[in-house]
Subunit: 332 residues, 2 copies
Amino acid sequence: MATRLSDVAARAGVSVKTVSNVINDYPHITARTRAKVEAAIAALNYIPNVSARSLRKGRSDFIALAIPEMGSPYFAELGAEISRAAKRRGITVLIDQTEGEAAAEQFVLDGMRGQLIDGIIFSPLATAPAKLTSADTGKPLVLLGERPAGGQFDRIAVDSVQASYDATTHLVSLGRRRIAAIGVGGTGTGAVRRKGYRKALKAAGMPHEPALELAAAGYHRLDGATSMRELLALPEPPDAVFCFNDLLALGALRTLADAGLRVPEDVAVVGFDDIEDGRYHSPTLTTISPDKEWLADNAVTLLLDRIAGRAGSTHRDLSVPYRLEIRESTGG
Amino acid sequence: MATRLSDVAARAGVSVKTVSNVINDYPHITARTRAKVEAAIAALNYIPNVSARSLRKGRSDFIALAIPEMGSPYFAELGAEISRAAKRRGITVLIDQTEGEAAAEQFVLDGMRGQLIDGIIFSPLATAPAKLTSADTGKPLVLLGERPAGGQFDRIAVDSVQASYDATTHLVSLGRRRIAAIGVGGTGTGAVRRKGYRKALKAAGMPHEPALELAAAGYHRLDGATSMRELLALPEPPDAVFCFNDLLALGALRTLADAGLRVPEDVAVVGFDDIEDGRYHSPTLTTISPDKEWLADNAVTLLLDRIAGRAGSTHRDLSVPYRLEIRESTGG
DNA sequence: AGGACGGTTTACAACGTTTAACGTGGATGT
DNA sequence: ACATCCACGTTAAACGTTGTAAACCGTCCT
C-alpha cells in the first residue's frame, strides 16, 4: 500500500541508496539524478517511514512538551508557540498533559515514549527538578518555570522575583496601602512570586500581613474567585490584589463584580502571564507579559542544541524578557 | 544504553519471543514464566521501543488531532479532552496546528506523519470534506464540525442548525426585535448557524436584515469586537446579538463595555461553545454548551473502532448533546 | 511402550530505513 | 598513461519488534 524507498528507486531507475542520499542531502549528487529522483518521489507521493527511520537512526525529530494542562490558556498559548517554533525547524511536538500529577510526570520522563522522543521540554508541577537525575531520562531535557534546575539541566523562565516586585511596586505607586497576594505557596511559583511581592512591600516601608497572603488550591479562575471572597470578608479588605497568574486574577475580578465593587477605584488588580482573555475582559487586566514567542523559540533552540550535541557541558539558565502591561484593572 | 527485549530475555533466561509474548498478553504462558519475565522487566526498567514495534506491526497506537489552533480556548479544551479520552485507552494523541491553512491541512492528511499515525481526528477549516478522498490518507479519519462528510467518513458535530435556532429563539423570547448575527459565512459553520438563526427569525415572524448579518474574518475576540463596532454604527443598532462562537461574543462584549452600553439591558448577547472564559466574564455569557467530554470520547471511540476494523462499511454521523446555558448576558 | 495430543516455548524471517565498506566506470588534470 | 576525484552502485548488516511455523515436553490414550 504505502510506497517505499525501493518503489521510488525503481521508478527513477536508480538504486535505493541513491534515493536515500537525495533525501538526506548527501552532497555528491548530480543535478540530473536529483531531479529524476525528486520527480519519482513527487509522482509516487512518497513519504519516508518515520518508524523505520527512527529505528535505524536513533533520531525521530520528535520532541515532547510536558505541561500540566493544555486547557489552561497560558499553557495552550505556550504550546501553540512551541509547536510553531518546532515546525519551523522541521520538528514535531508531542504534547503530554500531566494534570500536575507526579505519577504522570514521572511516566513521561521515564518512558520518553519508548525512545521515540529525542528530548523533552518539561514544565514540572509536582516533581521537584532537584529530584530529577539525567539518568531518569537519558535524553536531553529543558526545564520551564520557577523551580531551580540545580545546575543539571537547561532552564528557561521569567525572573519571577523581579517581575513580582515590579507588579507590586506598580500597585504601591498607585497609592494602594493594603495590597493582597493570591496564589502564595511554599514551593515553586507560589514561593518565588511571594518573594518579589514581599520585597516590594518592604522597599515601600509596608509590612506584609499574613491575612493578605492567600494560598490557592490551583491556579484557576475558581481559586481566584474563592480567595477574593475570603479577602472581602476581612475586617479590613485590601485595596489592591496581586494575583500570581491571570486566571486567578480573572476569578478575582468576577468576585469583585459580583460584590458590586469597582475596579480599579475600589480594588486594583494585577495578574501574571498576559493571556488573551485578560486583554478583552472588562476591565482589561494589568499583567506581567512574558514574551512567549521568545520563550518558545529559545526553549526549542536550547533543546535542539543539546540533542545535536552542540551545547557544552555547562547548563544554561535563560531569563525571558517581560513587560508590565498596564491596563484598566489598575487604571491604565 | 536503552534496554532491549533481548536484555530482558537474557536476564529472565527465556527467549526474546517469550518476553514479547508476555508483553502482548499471549494466552499460553505459564504463571512461572510470566513471573520471571515480569520480574526481569521491572528490574531492568524495560520499555518497548515504539519505532520498532510500529515498524513491525504497522500500528503505533498514535492518533493525530488536527485543529486550526490550540491557542483558541475551544480547541484547547477539546484537545485536552481528546487527549484524556485517548490516554484512557492507551492511545497517544499528536496534535497538529493547521492554522486554518489549506496547505497545512493537506500536509497533515497526506503525510499522516509517515505512517506513524493510525488515524486522525480532523477539524477542517480550509479543506472541504467533500474534496477529501479516503485515498488521500489510506487511514481512518473522523471529521469534526459542521461541514458534511459526504458519506465518506465518520463525523461528529453539534446540530448547529437546531442549536442556533434555540439560541436565537431565546433572544426572541426575551422580547428582542433587532437580533444581529456575527460570524456569518457562506460555508461551514458560518452558513449552518446562519440557517438556524434565520429559521428562528422566520418562526417568530421577523425578517432577516442583511445589515444585521455580519461576517467575521476569523472567529476571534478581535473580529467580534470589530463587528460589534460596525453594528453600533448602524442607524438602528441591534438590541441583541447572536455570536457564532464565544470568542466573537467576548469581543463583542468588550466593544459594548467600551461604548458604555449595558448588557443585557441595552443589548443581549449569546455565544456558542461554552468556553471557560465565558463563565467568568462580566457579565457571564449565555451560550450553547456542547458536551465536550462526550464529543471527545465518541470521537476517539469512533476512530479506534475504524482502526480496529470493528466499524461497518456505513459511516456514522453523531450529534453532540448540548444545552443552552442562560447566564447574565441575556439576563439569566 | 509407542503414538497422538495440547499446551508452551523457540528459531527465523520480516517490517523499511540507514550506514558501512567496497567497487566501478567515467571525467579531469598532468 | 596514470593517478585522482566524482557519482554513483552493490551488498550486508544493522535498528528492536512481532508473526509464522516448527520444536519441545509432559500427559493421556490405546
